[in-house]
C-alpha cells in the first residue's frame, strides 16, 4: 500500500486552528466557572482570563478573515448537499465495515460535505450567537452610553451566551471524537499539526494536480 502525501493545511491555517482550539478550551473552562458550575481559579481571574482569551481570539479572527479572503480559502465553507447522504451512510454503517471513506481530501476540497455543513453552522449560527452576546455582555456597563440599554437585558444576553457555550462545548466533543476517524486514530490530528495528509493510494480517486504539488508552490 503506497502512501502519498498532500500538503493540505497551510502554516497560517494550522496556527489559526491550534491557537483557536487553545483559546476556546480556555474559554470553556473559565466560562463555565463564571457561570457558577464550579470553582477553579475564582470568579475574578476567570472573568479576566475569559475576557483576555476572547479579545485574543477576535484579533486572530481578524487576521483569519483576511487570510480566508486573500487566499480564497473561504470557498471551503460553501455548503453543498451533494454526497451528504454518502457521508452519513459512511459514519453510520461504512465505518464499522471498514469501507473506504467516501471523500478524498484535496487542497481545494479539504472538508467533506458533512464537515462543510457543520463548520458553516458553527460560523453562521453559533459564532455570531456567542460573539454577539459576548460583546454585549462585555460592554454591559456602556449600554446606556450606546443607547441600547432598553433593547437588551443582562439576563437575556447571559442566557444566549450560555446557550451558545453549551452548543460549542457539545460541538467540541464531537469534533474531537471525529478526529479519530481517519485511517489511523491520530491521522487527522497529525495532519493538522504537520499540514501533510497521507492519502491512501489504493482507495484514492485520481488525485488532483494541486494535491501532488510540493509545499510552498501551492
Amino acid at each position: 500500500m503506497s502512501a502519498n502525501r498532500i500538503y493540505i493545511y497551510k502554516r497560517y491555517e494550522r496556527f489559526w486552528h491550534w491557537s483557536q482550539a487553545l483559546l476556546i478550551i480556555v474559554m470553556m473552562i473559565t466560562g463555565f466557572e463564571i457561570h457558577g458550575s464550579y470553582t477553579l481559579m475564582g470568579f475574578k481571574d476567570a472573568v479576566d482570563v475569559h475576557t483576555f482569551a476572547a479579545w485574543t481570539l477576535l484579533v486572530i479572527w481578524a487576521f483569519t478573515i483576511f487570510w480566508q479572503f486573500t487566499t480564497g480559502e473561504w470557498r471551503q465553507y460553501i455548503p453543498s448537499m451533494k454526497n451528504v447522504s454518502a457521508m452519513v451512510l459512511y459514519y453510520t454503517v461504512g465505518i464499522f465495515k471498514e469501507m473506504p471513506h467516501p471523500f478524498r481530501k484535496t487542497t481545494v476540497q479539504k472538508h467533506n460535505p458533512l464537515q462543510r455543513l457543520a463548520y458553516l453552522a458553527l460560523l453562521a449560527f453559533i459564532s455570531p450567537l456567542i460573539w454577539g452576546s459576548g460583546l454585549l455582555y462585555l460592554f454591559y456597563g456602556n449600554w446606556a452610553q450606546l443607547g441600547i440599554d432598553k433593547m437588551f437585558s443582562l439576563e437575556g444576553v447571559a442566557l444566549v451566551h450560555t446557550a451558545g457555550a453549551f452548543m460549542i462545548t457539545a460541538f467540541f466533543f464531537i469534533h474531537v471524537y471525529l478526529t479519530t476517524t481517519g485511517h489511523t486514530i491520530f491521522a487527522h490530528i497529525k495532519a493538522m499539526i504537520t499540514g501533510w495528509e497521507e492519502v491512501d493510494e489504493d482507495h484514492a480517486p485520481a488525485a488532483t494536480e494541486q494535491g501532488r504539488r510540493a509545499p510552498g508552490k501551492a
Binding site: 475564582g42 443582562l154 453549551f166 466533543f173 476517524t181
Partner: protein, 542 residues
C-alpha cells in the same frame, strides 16, 4: 502638578514609579490615585489667638456665659447654629417632606426624647433643654464648646440637659469618686476647629453608649489602625470628621435624613457646593483602574464592597434591643443586670435584653435616598414586623444603588388599640419613670400624657427593625469584597437577598442548563458509543 510643564515626563516617571513599586511589591502611593490633597487633620494655622482676647479672660462659671462671649464677636454664629439640625433636632425630609429628626422620628433604641429631656439632651448642641417648653430662639443657650473645645476636657454630663459640671460631683452616685468641673475659661481660650473627639462625644456614643447605635461609629475611630478606617487612621489619610462632613455656615453636610444614595456630580471642587460627604466628592465617579469595577458603581454603592464588616474597631455594637423583658428583679428583689463573658450588659432591668456584634456583616438593600420613616404619631400595621425606616429602591430604580446596612432588631412598646408607637417615660426622679419604678403601665401613661398624645391605656410590644446605612470604617482596598463574595451560587453570597437582578455566577436558567447539559452529555455519549462500536467491529489482522 502642572500637566503643561511635565507632559510626557510625567508619564515616563509614572511608569518607572509603577514598575519600581511593582518590583518592590510595595503598596502604591495614595497620591498616585489622584486624590485631591485635603488639609489632613485640619491643622491649618489660625489667624487669631483666642487666649489673648480680653472677652475671653473670664472667669466663666457656666456654658451660656462662654457662649455670650463668643457671640460678642461671632455675631452670626448663634443664628447659624440655631438653624442647624444639631440644634433643632428636626429635619424636613427633602424627598418625602416628612418632619424627621430626633424630635419626631421613632427609633428602636432609647425611645422618645419627650419626658426624658434632661438625659437625652446631654447631646444637644445647646444648654438647658429640660422639658418640652424649651426656647429654641435663645442664642445664649447655643453650646459652642461641645464642638470647638480643643483641650478634650469639656464634657457635657449625661444627665444635666446639655450642661457640663459646674461644681464637683460624686459620679456615679455612691462611688465616692468626685469629678471636678472643667475649666471653662481655659477651654474658651483654646477654641478651634472641631476634631473627631468633639463629634465623637455624641456620635460615637449614640443610643446611650460607645458603639451602641451606628455600628460604624465608635471611639475606635479616635485613633484607628489603618485596617479599621483608612480615612481616619493616622497611618492613612488622617482626616477628621469635618473634612468630609463639611460645614457651611454651621450646617453640617451628609445627613442621614437627606442622604445622597448616588452621587452623580463627582469631585467636589468642580461644583463647589462644599459638600464632601460622599465618596465621589474626593474619589470622583470612576476611581478604579478596572473599568468593570467602575461600572459596578452605577448600581453598587462604594461602601458595599469597601466596608466588608462594621464594628471592626474592637468595640461591639448593639444588634438587638428587646424592651419587652424589662423590669425583672433578681432573687434579692433588686433590679436585675446580667453581663456576658465580655462584660457586655446582656440584660438590664431598665432596658430589657441586648445582643451585640463585632465584625458584623451588613445586610444589603437597594436604596435611592428615600426613607419612609415612622414617626411617633403614625398609624402602624401591627400584623407584622414594623420597619421603622424602610429604605426605598429597587433594581428598576435608576437612582438606587445597593447599600450596606446595619439592621437593628428591636421590640418596643406600642398601643395595640390606637395602633401607634408610644412615648415611654424612662428617665426622671419621679414615681412613674421606668428606670426606677419598672412599671410600663405607669411609665407609658406618663409619657403619653406628657406628650399630649392619645393613649388607649393598653400596651403591648411590637417587633421592629431599623436600617442604619454603613458608610464609615472604610477598609484598605485589599480587604474589599472579592468578586466571588457576590458572584456565587452559595446561599451565603453577600447579595443573596437581592433577587431582582441577574447576577453572573449566581443566576442561571434551569432550562438552558438542562438542555445544554444534555447536549454535552449527548455529544460525549454519542462519540463514546460510536467509538466502542468501531473497536468491536474492527476486523482482525487489520
Amino acid at each position: 502638578m502642572d500637566k503643561r510643564t511635565f507632559g510626557w515626563r510625567r508619564w515616563i516617571g509614572g511608569a518607572l514609579i509603577l514598575a519600581a513599586s511593582m518590583m518592590a511589591g510595595a503598596a502604591s502611593d495614595p497620591a498616585a490615585g489622584g486624590l485631591p490633597v485635603a488639609a489632613a487633620g485640619g491643622k491649618a494655622a489660625s489667624t487669631a489667638d483666642h487666649s489673648k482676647f480680653k472677652e475671653l479672660q473670664g472667669p466663666f462659671k457656666t456654658g451660656p456665659e462662654v457662649t455670650k462671649a463668643c457671640l460678642a464677636c461671632h455675631n452670626e454664629a448663634g443664628h447659624q447654629v440655631m438653624k442647624s439640625v444639631h440644634w433643632t433636632w428636626e429635619a424636613i425630609s427633602p424627598t418625602t417632606g416628612k418632619k424627621l429628626g430626633k424630635q419626631h422620628a421613632a427609633n428602636n433604641f432609647c425611645g422618645s426624647i419627650l419626658s426624658n429631656e434632661p438625659r437625652c439632651t446631654s447631646c444637644h448642641a445647646g444648654y438647658d433643654w429640660k422639658d418640652k417648653n424649651y426656647d429654641f430662639t435663645n442664642q445664649n443657650n447655643v453650646d459652642c464648646l461641645a464642638c470647638h473645645d480643643t483641650t478634650a476636657t469639656y464634657k457635657k454630663i449625661a444627665t444635666d440637659a446639655g450642661h457640663p459640671l459646674y461644681e464637683p460631683r460624686e459620679m456615679p452616685k455612691g462611688s465616692g469618686k468626685i469629678v471636678q468641673p472643667p475649666d471653662l475659661t481655659k477651654i474658651a481660650q483654646a477654641v478651634g476647629k472641631p476634631g473627631r473627639q468633639n463629634c465623637g462625644a455624641c456620635h460615637f456614643n449614640g443610643g446611650g453608649g460607645d458603639a451602641v447605635k451606628h455600628g460604624d461609629l465608635d471611639t475606635s475611630l479616635i485613633k484607628p489602625p489603618k485596617d479599621v478606617d483608612v480615612h481616619m487612621s493616622p497611618e492613612g489619610a488622617n482626616l477628621s470628621c469635618a473634612d468630609c462632613h463639611t460645614f457651611n455656615a454651621h450646617q453640617p453636610s451628609g445627613s442621614r435624613y437627606a442622604a445622597t444614595a448616588k452621587d452623580t456630580k463627582g469631585l467636589d471642587m468642580k461644583h463647589e457646593d462644599h459638600n464632601r460627604a460622599t465618596c465621589e466628592s474626593c474619589h470622583d465617579l470612576r476611581p478604579h483602574k478596572n473599568e468593570r469595577l467602575n461600572n459596578h458603581a452605577n448600581r453598587v454603592a462604594c461602601q458595599t464592597c469597601h466596608i466588608p464588616e462594621f464594628a471592626r474597631g474592637g468595640i461591639a455594637t448593639k444588634t438587638l434591643w428587646d424592651w419587652s423583658t424589662g423590669g425583672k428583679r433578681g432573687p434579692d428583689g433588686k433590679p436585675l443586670f446580667i453581663k456576658d463573658d465580655h462584660g457586655h450588659l446582656i440584660y438590664s432591668a431598665e432596658k430589657g435584653d441586648f445582643k451585640y456584634g463585632e465584625n458584623v456583616r451588613p445586610a444589603y438593600k437597594w436604596y435611592n435616598g428615600v426613607v419612609h420613616q415612622i414617626s411617633i404619631t403614625d398609624k402602624i400595621d401591627d400584623s407584622r414586623i414594623l420597619e421603622l425606616n424602610r429604605v426605598e429602591g429597587s433594581a428598576g430604580d435608576p437612582n438606587a444603588r445597593i447599600w450596606p446596612f446595619k439592621v437593628m432588631v428591636g421590640k418596643q412598646p406600642y398601643d395595640p388599640v390606637n395602633k401607634t408607637l408610644v412615648v415611654n417615660h424612662v428617665y426622671g426622679n419621679d414615681d412613674t419613670a421606668f428606670w426606677g419604678n419598672f412599671d410600663y403601665e405607669k411609665s407609658i401613661k406618663a409619657g403619653m400624657d406628657y406628650a399630649g398624645l392619645p393613649y388607649s391605656g393598653k400596651f403591648d410590644f411590637i417587633e421592629t427593625r431599623m436600617n442604619w446605612f454603613i458608610t464609615h470604617m472604610v477598609a484598605p482596598k485589599e480587604d474589599a469584597l472579592k468578586c466571588s463574595d457576590c458572584h456565587t451560587r452559595s446561599e451565603d453570597g453577600r447579595l443573596a437577598a437581592i433577587t431582582d437582578i441577574y447576577m453572573p455566577g449566581r443566576d442561571r436558567n434551569g432550562w438552558v442548563d438542562l438542555l445544554g447539559g444534555l447536549a454535552i452529555i449527548g455529544a460525549i455519549g454519542a462519540g463514546s458509543i460510536h467509538g466502542i462500536a468501531r473497536i468491536l467491529t474492527r476486523r482482525k489482522g487489520h
